[in-house]
């Protein structure tokens, strides 16, 4: 049911973990629906220098989280903001239809982390 690429990211997820004192943190989903994704960002200037994730969820949830971290590392904030959930799914070679709406939230988590960074900047 999953593509080889999804299984690769599920088996060997990239950038798992946390960043201490991150510049931005974003979390989406809830335990009730079975998926929670949290993304940590380390931002220097405009560039996403480092990114880590922690995810509770199915194979698709883990794989999309891993994929999105790979897609944004070294990118500018502006570039990261245009990455959509659909683009993450596409980069993984597609997801089963049932997974497109429930477990494909990694870009939302990323955007939420960027928003968190921007909110912090405003305060400072």
């Amino acid at each position: 049911m999953y593509s080889e690429k999804v299984m690769d990211h599920f088996t060997n997820p990239r950038n798992v973990g946390e960043i201490e004192n991150p510049d931005g943190v974003g979390e989406v989903g809830n335990a009730k629906c079975g998926d929670i994704m949290r993304i940590y960002l380390d931002i220097k200037g405009d560039i996403i220098e480092d990114v880590k994730f922690k995810t509770f969820g199915c194979g698709a949830a883990v794989a999309t989280s891993s994929m999105v971290t790979e897609m944004v590392k070294g990118k500018t904030i502006e570039e990261a903001l245009v990455i959509s959930n659909a683009a993450v799914a596409e980069a993984l070679g597609g997801l089963p239809p049932a997974k497109m709406h429930c477990s494909n939230l990694a870009a939302d988590a990323l955007h939420s982390a960027i928003q968190n960074y921007k909110d912090k900047q405003k305060k400072e």
Partner: protein, 391 residues
Amino acid sequence: MKRIYLDHSATTPVDLEVAALMMTYYTEKYGNPSSVHSFGREARQALEEARRQVAELIGATPQEITFTSGGTEADNLAIIGTAEAMSKKGKHLITSSVEHHAVLETCEFLAKNGFELTILPVDAEGIVSVEDVRMAIRPDTILISVMHANNEVGAIQPIVEIGQLAKEHSITFHVDAVQTLGKIPINVKDMNIDLLTVSSHKIYGPKGVGALYVRKGVRLAPRAHGGSQEKKRRSGTENTPGIIGFGKACELIGKRMDKEDARQIILRDKLMNGIIERIKYVKVNGPLGEKRLANNVNVSIRFVEGESLLLSLDMLGIAASSGSACTSGSLDPSHVLLAMGLVHEIAHGSLRFSLGSQNTEEEIDYVLEQLPKIVERLRMMSPLYDQAIHK
């Protein structure tokens, strides 16, 4: 890679002896049992022998067995057939919240079409209360449908007591025994059962075959109209090889039931206790001891999600199942676990292992060696886990 199959409540391999017998009736003795000639007669004879074998395993007479395409069709025939035949007497049906979808959805279909439905709750172990059944009975109740044992958590229901109640009130009593046939002794007469659903592919017989026991004298409307087969209850040329395979499977499992049950209980408890000992934050779902099916292990592993567990196990060749939303095809986790009062996040982390006749102690050891590593890996990824352990 060696593969370990621990999903026997989903389906089982066909016994080689059964498969060999079936092959004869596909290629050599392929007659239509309704035909007059010798081809037809030999098929009819074997078909009736299968009917006798199925009847014997449940304490029925052969005339009381109607073959169907499986458990789902038998459940539909039992429930809709009763509703149709008895609608002049009343329109109230009683079932439980942990039934298989084949029962629940069928009852809900009737509830949308002029019938009234009471869905009984279960306790934390997944067991229906006899008192709740008693309270739910009304003068217009025409059917009580409660499963013998639950397919997800292995909870064995108080069928004898419910059967007694149904008899006292002259209500038709249907039992889905798909998970218990060949595992727990069934005697439809002693248990006051009017309609009993059984299925072949859970007992090392072929898929696509089942049966409904219909107690002599019970009124039941047919679901499939046509050529009058199966005493007009279920028209259509009989799946002769399948039915013959089912009959043989019944005979074989009946012979080894007691011994196999005892063997599986040892493996079940080893697996269940081993998981509890090796992994923290685990909850057993369903009852312990005698109220649990011999082949069922169901645990919720907190802070991880069921499908991730299944994928990880599958990569090591271990086949299991889960009640998480991702595997149920809906956004909600298992209706059985929710009915037992589990919160969503714990239901999402459920894992079921169901044992079969070919499982060995070495296989259980292998699962117990691998599962803690899988859980550890997934928990290290889980944002819920660090929240919980840092509390």
